[in-house]
Amino acid sequence: MSDKKNTPAPLANEGLPPEERGFFCDAAPREYAPAQGVLEDFYNWARSQSLWVLGFGTGCGAIELRPLMTSRFDMYRYGIQPRPTPRQSSVFVIGGYASVKTLKRIVRSYEQMMGPKFVVALGSCTINGGMYWDSYNTIKRIDQYIPVDVYIAGCMPRPEALLSGFLELKKIIREGKAEGQNEYARNFDWYKANQKNVIKDWNMPDYNW
């Protein structure tokens, strides 16, 4: 179910030393066409019913994930569960402000996730910089660097807000509007330019999967 025709040119991986370029893949991401009709609806339902959250606490918002995944606000009820490896998780929760050093890891982990993949961004600082609007080390809006599906405002968002955010994400997925992966592949150059504009020492592959 993937169209082979628009396969883009291989990446240069100029960030890497020449002897290491062979170790990494140089294929740029490409778009994947969704399945047909009812089948895709069924898939989307399944995706929305089993959201595996990548266990990467990028900011202080991660502290409210603990109550969320433990017995008070039990997110397992909704089929949401943490997953330690990006390969198997489908939701990336950006827990608040992202410093440049963390953004590098965010991009890397996001690209390693298998699509369809969804991003939930917590806190005002991911929306417009929030409290760190004049900080020299935190980015101001995360959607310049990776596609975001749901924002949850607040500093910090309460577990109830997180839950409603996840339910909103489910709705979007079921409607088939959560095509962040394809969007990333479509505007790959733009995203990559933004990323390289901020991450000064780009010493990793241009697209690592």
Partner: protein, 304 residues
Amino acid sequence: MEPSILLRIGYAAISLFVITNYGLLLIGSMARISAKVQGRVGQPVWQPYIDIIKSSAKRNSVGHGVMFYLGPVFRLAGGIGTYMFIPAVFGSVVFRNFSDSGDLLLVMYFIFFGQLGMALGAGEGGHPYSAIGVSRGLAQMTAFEVPFALSVIAVAIQYGTLDITSIVAAQQGGFAHWTLATNPLAVIAAIIAFLGMSGHNPFSVVIAPQEIPIGPPTEYQSNLLGMLQTNRAVFNGAKLVLYMNLFFGGATNIPVMVIKTFLIYFINIFVGQAFPRFRTDQSIRFFLGVPTLIGIASVLIAIL
């Protein structure tokens, strides 16, 4: 009369289908039970189905060479092979599988086979945590195979055969004939080995999320992961049925099978929720200690 081979294959497919669904539901309900221990509501019972559908519905996937793809295939083959040579329900035509053409040794071999295939595949994955997980897993497996093998030897000596069907047949006729009653030491050793085999706490160091997230399957995604999840259900079911046959008098119909296997699997959760996990060296030391002695004792009892 003996059904034709095609008919038997059809029957085997039916019983495989049943055991897969049963295994999935078992996993789901056990997750719910452990959630209750933790004071949670817990995931829906059918969550494993959705997870498998979701994993298989992933759009792209990353490979690391042929062995990487073959790992889950071997694992699944091991699981199915294990199940195929065990009579799920004693005396039933549909659920006897191919138990008459294979015996206990073959089953034990299949239990190994899946793990080894997985080890090869995960090693190909190239993730350091996979390598560590594989080494831990194999080390621990060789450790818990010792008490398991000993108890199996005890059973074989006791009933004078390696054929599972006749072992079950010998246990018919009430609780007094079960291995649990006739040779309890063998059962104890085997149950301890079972804890290690099913990889719950305290023997979950293979996939320890806090230490080596998450061990051998770290690199596996999409449909490969779905395959592993399916295998988990089949393999659990097969092991449970095997234990039920060897030690708990088998089952003459489906409800009895369900009840017995559920109770056997419940032991895992019961122990797993109450304990942290051993380190690899500690668990090996543990398995080669008391459980091995119990196993030897059970063999001696069987001989005498």
